[in-house]
C-alpha cells in the first residue's frame, strides 16, 4: 500500500513526548512507571475508542451513544464473571484469563446485538445528518443508560479483578501492574486486526465512498446498507470489549461510566484524524502519557491535559495526525 510515501512524523510524537518528560520527572524509575502505565492506559483507551473510529471516523456517524455500549459491555462482563467465581477466584493466572475470555466474548456479542437494533432504529434514519445524529444518539444513550439502571440498579456495582491479574511486576524500582500488560496485548490484537482488514480489503474504501455518495456506491452494485450495519455492529462489539477492559480496570461500574469517557474518546479519534486506526492508536497513547505526566507534575492541570493536547495537534495538523477524508 502507501508504504513508500508513508508519513512517519506523527509516529515520532509518542517517543518525543516521553523523552521530553524524562528530565522533568526526575528519577528514572518514576519515569518508567509513569511511561509504561501511560502507554498501557493509552492501549485501554484505544480499545474503547477503536469502535468509534469505524463509526464516527469512517461512517461519519457522530455517535454519542457509543459510550452506552462500553457500559453495557462492562455490566455484562460483571454478570458473566460473577457466575464463574471459582475461576476468577483461583490463584493460577491462566484460569483467570480463561475466565476473562468468555466474559469478553459474551460482552461483545451482546453489545453487537444491541448495536444491530441501535443501527436500525436510531442511526439509519439520520445517516449524513450530523445534527440529528447527535440528538438521536444522545437519546439512544440516555435510553440505554436508564435501561442499565432498570436491570442492574442505579448504584455502583463491584467488578473485582481476577486475583491472578492483581498486583504488579517489579522492574528495578518501577512497578508495572499485570492487568495493564493484558490490556496492551488485547489492544495490539485489536489494532492488528483492524489495520489489516482496512488495508487489505475494500471495506474501508467502500465506507468512505458510501459516506460521500451513497447512491453512486449502490449504482456500482454494492449493498452499502448491509455494509454499514455490519460495520456499526463491529463498532459496537468493540465498544463492548472496551467496556470489559475498562470495567476490569476500574473494578467498579456505574451506569454513567460510558457517558464519562465519551469526550475522552472523541478527543482521541479527532487527534487521530477521523477514521485512521493508526491515528487513533497514536492519539490514545499520547493522551495516556500526557495525563500521567501532568498527573505527576501538575495534578491540577490533569483534566485539561488531553484537551490542550488536542488543540495543539490540530494547530499542527488541522485535520488530525492521519487525515482520512479531505472534505466533509
Amino acid at each position: 500500500m502507501k508504504t513508500l510515501d508513508f508519513d512517519w512524523k506523527p509516529l515520532l510524537l509518542v517517543p518525543v513526548l516521553a523523552l521530553v518528560a524524562l528530565p522533568l520527572t526526575g528519577s528514572f524509575s518514576t519515569w518508567l512507571t509513569l511511561t509504561v502505565a501511560g502507554l498501557a492506559m493509552g492501549m485501554i483507551i484505544f480499545i474503547i475508542a477503536s469502535g468509534l473510529t469505524l463509526v464516527f471516523g469512517l461512517m461519519d456517524v457522530l455517535n454519542f451513544g457509543h459510550g452506552v455500549f462500553i457500559a453495557l459491555g462492562a455490566f455484562v462482563a460483571s454478570a458473566v464473571l460473577g457466575g464463574m467465581g471459582d475461576w476468577t477466584g483461583s490463584q493460577e493466572v491462566w484460569r483467570n484469563l480463561v475466565a476473562v475470555f468468555p466474559a469478553m466474548l459474551v460482552a461483545m456479542a451482546v453489545a453487537g446485538a444491541i448495536g444491530l437494533a441501535f443501527e436500525r432504529f436510531i442511526v439509519r434514519p439520520v445517516y449524513g445528518q450530523h445534527l440529528k445524529q447527535i440528538l438521536i444518539t444522545m437519546g439512544g444513550m440516555i435510553i440505554g443508560e436508564e435501561l442499565i439502571k432498570v436491570i442492574w440498579g442505579p448504584g455502583q456495582i463491584p467488578l473485582p479483578l481476577p486475583d491472578g491479574l492483581r498486583g504488579s511486576l517489579l522492574v528495578g524500582d518501577a512497578a508495572i501492574s499485570k492487568y495493564r500488560l493484558l490490556a496492551v496485548a488485547v489492544g495490539l490484537v485489536v489494532f492488528g486486526v483492524l489495520a489489516w482488514t482496512l488495508a487489505r480489503t475494500k471495506i474501508g474504501l467502500l465506507i468512505r465512498a458510501g459516506v460521500q455518495d451513497r447512491e453512486m456506491v449502490e449504482s456500482l452494485g454494492y449493498r452499502i446498507g448491509r455494509l454499514f450495519i455490519g460495520v456499526f455492529v463491529v463498532g459496537s462489539a468493540l465498544a463492548g470489549l472496551g467496556g470489559v477492559m475498562w470495567g476490569l480496570f476500574q473494578q467498579n461500574l456505574i451506569p454513567q461510566m460510558g457517558a464519562q469517557v465519551n469526550v475522552l474518546i472523541f478527543i482521541v479519534i479527532i487527534i487521530g484524524g477521523l477514521g485512521s486506526t493508526t491515528g487513533a492508536l497514536i492519539g490514545a497513547l499520547l493522551v495516556g502519557l500526557m495525563t500521567n505526566y501532568t498527573g505527576f507534575l501538575l495534578p491540577v492541570a490533569t483534566q485539561f491535559a488531553s484537551i490542550v493536547l488536542m488543540v495543539a495537534v490540530l494547530l499542527w495538523r488541522p485535520q488530525g495526525v492521519y487525515p482520512v477524508a479531505s472534505s466533509r
Binding site: K202, A209, S219, Y222, S326
Partner: protein, 242 residues
C-alpha cells in the same frame, strides 16, 4: 423466448416528493444497439435514467431488463444484473484517489493488482488523464478529467448495459473523439448503451436509434438515420436542426 429489447419501459410515472415528473414514459433499448435519449432541459431524461437504476421509484408502469421485471428492485440488485451507470454529476468520490475510484468500480478485484490489465491499458489509451493522475485525489481533477474518470469507471469491467448521462459535457473535442471511439468499441463488443446527450454530432455519429423526451414523456422514437434525415421533425422536437 428472449425479447430483442434489453431494456423496456412501459408507461413509467415517477414522482419526486410532491412533484409528478414522468408522465408515462415508454422506451425500448434494443440489444446490442446504442440508443440516444434527447430532449430539452428538464424534459425528464435524467429522471428516467435514475428511475431505471432504482434511484427513484416508478409510481406506475414497468421497467424490464431482458425478461426480468426490475421495477421494484433496489439499486444494488439492478446494478448487479450487469448495468453500469454514469450519473449526470459524474458521482466521483473526491476523497478517494483515481485508483481507488477505479478499484471500487471493478467489483471483481480485491485490490489494484487484480484489475484486468488489458482493459486498463485500453482505458489509459482512451483517457490518458486517468493514468496520469492514477494516485491523485479524484476531487482535484479538472472538470473534463472527472468526466473521463466517470466513464472509465463504467467500463473498467464488462457490463451488459451502459447507461450514461451526458458524457461529453465539458470534454475537449479530442477527448470527445476518444469517447466516441470508446463507445464504438464497446458496441462492437456487444454492449448495449443508453446515452443522454446534448452534443449533436456525438449523437449522430454514434446513435443507432433515438428517443426524444419532452415534459416527462417520450414524444418520438425511431432509428437515428431516419431522425437525422427529417429536419422538420428535429425542429419540432428539439427546437432546431441537427
Amino acid at each position: 423466448m428472449t425479447s430483442p429489447n434489453l431494456l423496456t419501459l412501459e408507461g413509467v410515472h415517477t414522482h419526486i416528493g410532491a412533484y409528478h415528473i414522468l408522465h408515462g414514459v415508454d422506451l425500448v433499448v434494443p440489444k446490442g444497439q446504442l440508443t440516444m435519449l434527447l430532449g430539452r432541459n428538464g424534459a425528464g431524461k435524467t429522471t428516467t435514467l435514475r428511475t431505471v437504476m432504482g434511484l427513484w421509484h416508478a409510481s406506475q408502469g414497468r421497467v424490464r431488463f431482458g425478461d426480468k421485471d426490475i421495477t421494484a428492485l433496489h439499486t444494488p440488485q439492478i446494478a448487479g444484473l450487469g448495468i453500469a451507470y454514469v450519473p449526470e454529476n459524474m458521482g466521483i468520490f473526491s476523497d478517494l484517489t483515481v485508483k481507488e475510484n477505479m478499484l471500487l468500480a471493478a467489483r471483481g478485484a480485491k485490490n489494484a493488482e487484480q484489475m484486468d490489465e488489458a482493459r486498463l491499458k485500453w482505458i489509459f489509451e482512451l483517457f490518458p488523464a486517468v493514468q496520469k493522475f492514477w494516485s491523485h485525489p479524484a476531487g482535484k481533477l479538472s472538470g473534463g478529467q472527472k468526466q473521463m474518470l466517470a466513464v472509465a469507471r463504467a467500463i473498467v469491467e464488462p457490463r451488459e448495459l451502459l447507461i450514461v448521462d451526458e458524457p461529453s459535457k465539458g470534454l475537449a473535442p479530442a477527448i470527445i473523439n476518444n469517447m466516441i471511439q470508446a463507445f464504438d468499441a464497446l458496441k462492437k463488443s456487444g454492449v448495449t448503451v443508453l446515452l443522454v446527450e446534448q452534443n449533436i454530432h456525438f449523437a449522430q455519429r454514434l446513435g443507432d436509434s433515438v428517443a426524444v423526451m419532452d415534459n416527462g414523456r417520450v414524444v418520438h422514437s425511431g432509428s437515428m438515420a431516419a431522425f437525422s434525415a427529417d429536419e422538420e421533425l428535429q425542429r419540432s422536437l428539439l427546437g432546431l436542426a441537427l
